[in-house]
Symmetry: C2
Subunit: 343 residues, 2 copies
DNA sequence: GCATGCGGGACAAAAAATGTCCATCCTATA
DNA sequence: TATAGGATGGACATTTTTTGTCCCGCATGC
């Protein structure tokens, strides 16, 4: 941590909670503006009058702009917000936490975003922004990128800025369709991500839980065969980590299977595989997509997960592969470290 | 200025006055401890209850120690204080001020210490500490150092730490005796500074305002002759700058001479010379000591002056020589810049 | 044009900061 | 050893600041 920051923390400790509060207010305005005091107060769970005082100060500092339609962040405020992210990262000791997570999970890379998605959904956007940055730094010309679906990866795609000068990239969905809203499906994400990268994409229209027969016959389709071949040779995989119980429900597994899954200790799901906290595969969705063996061979794997409730799922996933870029939030990270210590 | 500091100033502006207040409390404790609440409150000019709150916080942070004899700084607190000096230096924009002073006076080096001695005498000690550091960095083996008298240079000597590994240094008074307390006379300062540098010293016992005859006969004394020879070949001169009016009074000049001096525009005094704001010599004390020509040839000149009331004196002195290390306080610096702008 | 949500004003209530006094305990000194 | 001075810590009234709450007029979108 910067020595200046240490100094300030020692001499003016009052500033820490103040800074954090102000940061959260600014984040809300940044992502939701223009927005009114009342909504802001509700979202942040603090009094309206407090929000009002904060806004007034932020306005005086030129960080936000108050209009009749609500409060919005100024360009200057946005640049300050970006710097504040790093500062909060330092203040909350994220670097220390990152080291602990890496040790607890025995993985190569961990990035911890301040906050907890379970308590403040906007933290997801900061995490997504960070994951998008990782992706941006990893992707080179002629690379093929696999993506999964889900709200988290959707957000990563949304936070990705338009890239220029990148040649011949290809984005493909990593596995067959998941239910849920169209927008968050891997097909949609792949298409839009490809657009942002200035590359091409392919779609994969296959339902979940198909029979082996159907799977085999589908595999003979040239289009699908092509895509599966690409999947075997992915350069980058960008995927989310889900909780087993939630994913089972979302995919509408039969009640019986669902129960059995959880009984067998499944805690997490990623690209179609259900696994327990130690990384043992409990079940794989019968669909076309990336295989565990493929996953372990991909050069770059970027996993994103937010919320303390996903700690066990992340723990399990980390056992599948050690070379990984794991982007999680503070809530998940602290829970992971706790889990590691209690064992 | 550090970008982190800028950020903090924008997002948590409340911390600035808070930090400054706390810094001053810590300074008082640092230099005057152990000391009680009441004396502290009186010295700082703030309420006793406030001091109490501050002390309590500082204690919680482990910066000070409360004992029955009063409050004193802890070793940790002292190290924090040292770092705080730099931080306050940044916050108050001293670097900017230093640049302005250098430009206004057209000199090579300026160091500005936060605060104003005229309002808070403790600032003098910070300034002295800084000057001591400059001296420490300048002095090498076999060097001869000339010093003047006065409270300021006395303080510099006091802030100097015991040096080791320095060989064959010599400290001599730069001019004949000034009245005033024994402790602050150049002879005394030279002796004690020599002790701290692990070197030797010589004394010069000559009164002020002697006749030319007396001066000449004194100069034949081998001891004095030796010293004067050394003075012509000084490596470093460390001296204070005084106000002409105050110095004339201190040296008990006849009322008539005193008035004439001021009428002729004398504003400052240094090593026996009275000069006006443009650096024209109005009068030199008839005594044995360093000459103006000597002064202009010395490799390193370190001048120390504190208090906004000395602005004109500093201004005048700066005209005598451009290559100089000038250590002043914020009060003097701002006044100097003001003078420069109004011209 | 109408409803919704916005900012800003106003004011009471609550909380925090500050001023003030006093009891008690050390410590240096006569 | 007795005593005076200065120190802390507790207590409490008072002032100032912060916070909760309501209402009003106005812009905006439907």
């Amino acid at each position: 941590m910067s020595s200046l920051l240490k100094l300030a923390k020692v001499v003016v400790p009052e500033m820490v909670p103040l800074l954090e509060k102000r940061f959260e207010v600014l984040r809300s305005i940044h992502y939701q503006g223009p927005i009114g005091r009342r909504s802001l107060a509700t979202n942040l769970g603090i009094g309206e009058r407090i929000v009002r005082a904060e806004i007034q100060l932020l306005q005086q500092q030129g960080l936000v702009d108050i209009q009749s339609s609500g409060v919005m962040i100024t360009p200057y405020g946005a640049s300050i917000y970006q710097q504040l992210e790093h500062m909060i990262h330092d203040i909350r000791g994220m670097q220390n936490l990152e080291a602990k997570v890496k040790e607890a999970l025995d993985i190569s890379h961990a990035i911890v975003i301040p906050g907890d998605c379970d308590q403040d959904p906007l933290v997801l956007r900061d995490a997504a922004k960070s994951a998008a940055l990782q992706l941006k730094q990893s992707v080179k010309d002629h690379m093929t990128i696999g993506v999964t679906g889900g709200a988290t990866i959707y957000q990563v795609m949304m936070e990705m800025s338009q890239q220029k000068g990148l040649k011949n990239t290809k984005v493909i969905p990593a596995r067959g369709g998941i239910g849920g809203s169209l927008e968050m499906q891997s097909n949609h994400i792949a298409a839009r991500l490809a657009e942002k990268l200035g590359g091409s994409y392919r779609l994969l229209h296959v339902p979940d839980n198909i029979s082996s027969n159907a799977k085999e016959s589908l595999m003979k389709e040239p289009e699908i065969l092509n895509l599966v071949t690409d999947l075997h040779a992915l350069d980058i995989l960008l995927f989310g980590i889900g909780r087993a119980d939630q994913m089972a429900r979302r995919r509408k597994l039969p009640e019986k299977e669902h129960e059995e899954l959880l009984n067998q200790g499944a805690v997490g799901e990623a690209f179609g595989y259900y696994f327990d906290v130690r990384g043992r595969i409990i079940k794989d969705s019968n669909t076309i997509g990336i295989s565990l063996q493929d996953y372990q061979r991909i050069p770059v794997a970027i996993a994103v997960a937010c919320g303390s409730s996903k700690a066990k799922a992340i723990h399990g996933l980390a056992s599948l592969r050690k070379e990984i870029i794991l982007v999680i939030d503070e809530g998940a990270a602290r829970e992971i470290v706790n889990l590691g210590e209690s064992n």
